[in-house]
């Protein structure tokens, strides 16, 4: 493979990891809302919902690390270490990449707070965790803006699917009929 071939591969790999992360964060968000509702899912139960929610989020986080790492190596991306921390300073599409920087920074905070949640307590954890509703649109906008394949039909279909799913889930979350847990809820029996 030529040097530019390797670069293209790196770029595609980095881009792919990023998109996979977006997909997993979409899944995690929806599962988070399902968990909040107290509803169970067939086969996996409530435990499965929360386990999958966390696994998807952690896997997505790892993929973001791979995404960022491979783009750091890739000369075409012109990514510097400082771009990981401070937004809007990058050479390539600084605005859209800056959004990604913000998202990555937020992701680090969310991950740390999740890992340390027993020390932080449920109220502190919950208030920070709300920021995941900010993370998702940042990730989506970043993907739309920085992608060289933003016009490709596959990517568009993928993005539309993610948006539809998240909008639907959030709509449900905000509906008055959304089941609360605990004393808001109808009595139920666990399967």
């Amino acid at each position: 493979m030529t040097s530019s071939g390797l670069d293209t591969a790196l770029w595609s790999f980095g881009r792919g990891a990023g998109l996979a992360a977006l997909g997993l964060f979409t899944l995690s968000l929806v599962l988070g809302i399902i968990g909040r509702s107290g509803r169970s899912l067939p086969l996996i139960g409530r435990v499965g919902v929360s386990d999958l929610h966390r696994t998807a989020a952690l896997t997505g986080t790892s993929l973001v690390a791979i995404h960022v790492g491979s783009l750091l190596i890739d000369p075409y991306a012109q990514l510097k270490a400082v771009d990981l921390l401070l937004p809007f300073l990058a050479a390539y599409r600084p605005f859209w990449l800056g959004i990604g920087t913000l998202a990555a920074d937020l992701l680090v905070v969310l991950t740390l707070v999740s890992v340390l949640r027993t020390r932080i307590g449920p109220r502190g954890f919950r208030s920070v965790h709300w920021a995941s509703y900010v993370l998702w649109p940042l990730a989506l906008v970043h993907a739309l803006g920085t992608g060289s394949d933003a016009t490709s039909p596959w990517f568009r279909a993928f993005a539309v699917a993610c948006v539809l799913v998240v909008v639907g889930a959030v709509w449900w979350r905000l509906a008055p009929s959304f089941p609360g847990r605990g004393w808001d809820r109808q009595p139920r029996r666990t399967a």
Binding site: G45, P122, R181, G182, P187, T190
Partner: protein, 80 residues
């Protein structure tokens, strides 16, 4: 003295922080030997103890339940 299935000298128990519990129910799914659900959807120890004993065979599941509780209402207490 030989070990039996119920070793009462080392009883690990589950402590429930009721000010946090909101009846999510992962614990009941993971520990059907320990919990059932009451009329309002909250976990209820089958033994009617305040801090139910975790059988040895359920210790892994109990750890899972503690991690799985979305409001961190569970804690394992007693000697492990």
């Amino acid at each position: 003295m030989h070990a039996t299935g119920a070793d009462t000298t080392m009883s690990t128990r589950l402590h429930i922080d009721w000010t946090r519990c909101d009846g999510h129910g992962s614990c009941v799914e993971l520990l059907p030997d320990v919990f059932t659900t009451d009329d309002f959807g909250f976990p209820m120890p089958l033994s009617h103890e305040k801090e139910p004993v975790i059988p040895v065979r359920s210790r892994v599941a109990a750890g899972h339940a503690v991690r799985s509780c979305p409001v961190m209402a569970l804690k394992v207490v007693g000697r492990v």
